[in-house]
């Protein structure tokens, strides 16, 4: 039987993917441009007898996730940039307690209230922990509706495997636009494993009582716990790195872009190639861990880089760190909710190449 292709909004596809991943609890708070996601979860989680709560705030929602995740259940929240800022306290606690969780950011422009149009201005917050203390979250950046569904679906198992929260960093365009999507196989939550680290069912699990907590007032013990977590981060960097390359091999200039910017850059790439210009695209799928080593390899092959972002320049700092002065790194960005057109990105690469 042919796979069923459904036409869905990104926000709804993310919701359906989470339902199919066996998400047992969703906690959200209204914020544009991710409202369809919360409404989708209200309808479909409740219909399946799972937990949906419209929380009193993003702060409460992430702490409900903390509680649900403490029991070992697949739990999720979603929001948009200002709301994700509010969740950072809870994300820090999730990391400190080594709890899995899936957090979706359908990002909008800032700072402050900013606007409700798409933006990539949350890159620093997403990839540098975002809250207080020494930690990272895994960050997956979809480039469209299909990708948003696939990465959300997979985010749950990645998060459980590493006991690190996974942030799906989309933007308002991906959330709002409709595309065809083939949805992943549904998982029955009842078939998911129970975890030894969780609370509840201690007798059935044959374990001693658990204390889910991030506190430790003994400096040596807390340092040891942090070092252990960072050893795990080291493994994640080895095993989870993901990126996509398009026509990079013979390229002179390589776009580096993620999410919506990568889609736009792909269009600019096709315009350039049609004119015989050797342009490629490097798209990080994992923003943390970031594919530093591969970018350095490309730099050593003599490529130049044009980082395209919907921000004043955030990921470009990681690109510069990656190439370590071995290649020129240029930047083209739009912000405030503006999405660069492929024509303007093409014009920028043509200018750089002297065409």
């Amino acid at each position: 039987m042919a796979e069923e292709i459904r036409l869905m909004k990104g926000n709804e596809a993310i919701g359906e993917a989470a339902v199919r991943a066996g998400c047992r609890a969703y906690f959200g708070y209204p914020i544009t441009p991710q409202n369809e996601l919360t409404a989708y979860m209200a309808k479909h989680m409740l219909a399946k007898g799972r937990i949906f709560i419209q929380a009193e705030s993003e702060v409460a929602a992430i702490n409900m996730v903390y509680g649900a995740s403490s029991t070992g259940a697949r739990a999720m929240t979603s929001s948009s940039s200002p709301g994700v800022s509010l969740k950072q306290e809870g994300i820090s606690y999730l990391c400190g307690a080594d709890l899995p969780a899936v957090i979706v950011n359908v990002a909008r422009s800032g700072p402050g209230l900013g606007g409700i149009s798409p933006s990539q201005g949350d890159y620093f917050q997403a990839t540098r922990g975002g809250g207080h203390g020494d930690y990272y979250t895994i960050v997956l950046a979809p480039k469209g509706v299909q990708d948003a569904a696939d990465l959300t679906y997979e985010a749950f198992s990645i998060s459980e495997k590493w006991r690190v929260p996974v942030l799906v960093l989309a933007d308002g365009l991906i959330g709002q636009m409709m595309e065809g999507v083939v949805l992943p196989e549904p998982i029955d939550p009842a078939t998911l494993p129970r975890w030894q680290w969780a609370v509840g069912h201690s007798v059935e699990m044959g374990r001693p009582y658990n204390h889910v907590s991030s506190i430790n007032l003994v400096p040596d013990e807390l340092e040891a716990a942090n070092r252990k977590r960072f050893a795990r981060y080291g493994q994640i960097k080895k095993e989870l790195l993901r990126y996509e390359e398009i026509e990079v091999e013979d390229a002179d200039v390589v776009f580096v872009a993620y999410g919506t910017s990568a889609r736009v850059s792909h269009g600019a790439l096709e315009m350039a190639r049609a004119k015989g210009m050797k342009v490629g695209l490097f798209r990080p799928v994992t923003l943390w861990p970031f594919p530093y080593a591969r970018l350095l390899e490309l730099a050593e092959k003599g490529k130049r880089f044009l980082c395209v972002e919907m921000s004043m320049g955030q990921m470009v700092e990681d690109v510069r760190l990656a190439v370590n002065g071995k290649a020129p790194v240029y930047f083209y960005g739009r912000c405030g909710g503006n999405i660069p057109s492929q024509e303007e990105v093409f014009a920028e690469v043509a200018r750089l190449m002297g065409k």
Binding site: E56, V59, N63, G67, S70, A73, A75, E89, G200, S213
Partner: protein
């Protein structure tokens, strides 16, 4: 021989870090006794506050979850919704519940979340060293109210009666206020806790027991003086008893004739 005294299984037989005369130890003890009497040790999960009783997980011998300051009712919501057959005890102090976590407690109560909140009201911040709490009495001294709580000139507001505040919410089914100042009140408080836990296990709505408790260290008194101060100042402002009881086992209201 009849056993007249034993240490509750649900409480580890270790000395606590609490100050001499502090009420937390007695409150821990009566909670553990009720958990044991109900045979729920293996089904009990405590969500801790941030404050002195952040150490509750050292003393209770069952599962625990430690959320952020004030977010305990939100985390307890997540735990209880996932594990409805477990006994979830949401332990909070007055700073945790009535200041930073006000939104969380009001909305958990309003949703009728089926966990039990144990609200320890000692009218002061303990762990951080004696700052003014939302429940600090007018005129009571605190490091952040050096001349006493002044609601008008200094704009420090008034002490909040939390049970009464929550009682208008339809999701709340049982709100009682006890005290640990003497044996009679300790026994009554233990009875309130039992009623609340039983209601929780029957799946009724939100239940809370507020407990007036001494903090001799931050009140700058000895333990005996602190009991006297509680009786004279706190019980007069925070009336003891069942503030709201709409449990299915509650006595039917008298019929009008």
């Amino acid at each position: 021989m009849e056993l007249v005294y034993g240490h509750p299984k649900s409480l580890k037989p270790i000395q606590t870090k609490y100050c001499p005369g502090c009420g937390h130890g007695v409150i821990h003890r009566i909670i553990a006794e009720v958990v044991d009497e109900m045979g729920l040790q293996t089904k009990a999960i405590i969500t801790n506050p941030v404050g002195c009783s952040i150490w509750a997980d050292l003393y209770f011998d069952f599962d625990s979850v430690q959320p952020a300051h004030g977010r305990t009712p939100a985390a307890a919501t997540g735990v209880k919704r996932m594990l409805p057959d477990h006994l979830v005890i949401c332990y909070q102090g007055d700073g945790d519940l009535a200041a930073i976590g006000t939104a969380e407690i009001i909305h958990a109560a309003n949703r009728g979340e089926k966990f039990t909140t144990i609200f320890v009201n000692n009218a002061i911040y303990g762990m951080t060293g004696g700052q003014m709490a939302p429940t600090t009495l007018v005129g009571q001294h605190a490091t952040t109210a050096p001349e006493g709580r002044d609601p008008i000139v200094a704009g420090m507001g008034y002490p909040i009666r939390v049970c009464e505040l929550l009682s208008s919410l339809e999701g709340t089914r049982y709100l009682a206020r006890g005290s640990v100042n003497n044996m009679v009140n300790i026994r009554k408080t233990k009875n309130y806790i039992r009623k609340a836990f039983e209601a929780q296990m029957r799946g009724e709505g939100f239940t809370m027991v507020e407990i007036l408790s001494q903090c001799p260290t931050n009140w700058q008194m000895n333990p005996v003086e602190s009991v006297e101060w509680l009786e004279k100042n706190m019980i007069t402002f925070y009336p003891l008893g069942e503030i709201k009881n709409t449990l299915s086992t509650a006595p039917a209201p008298a019929q009008a004739h």
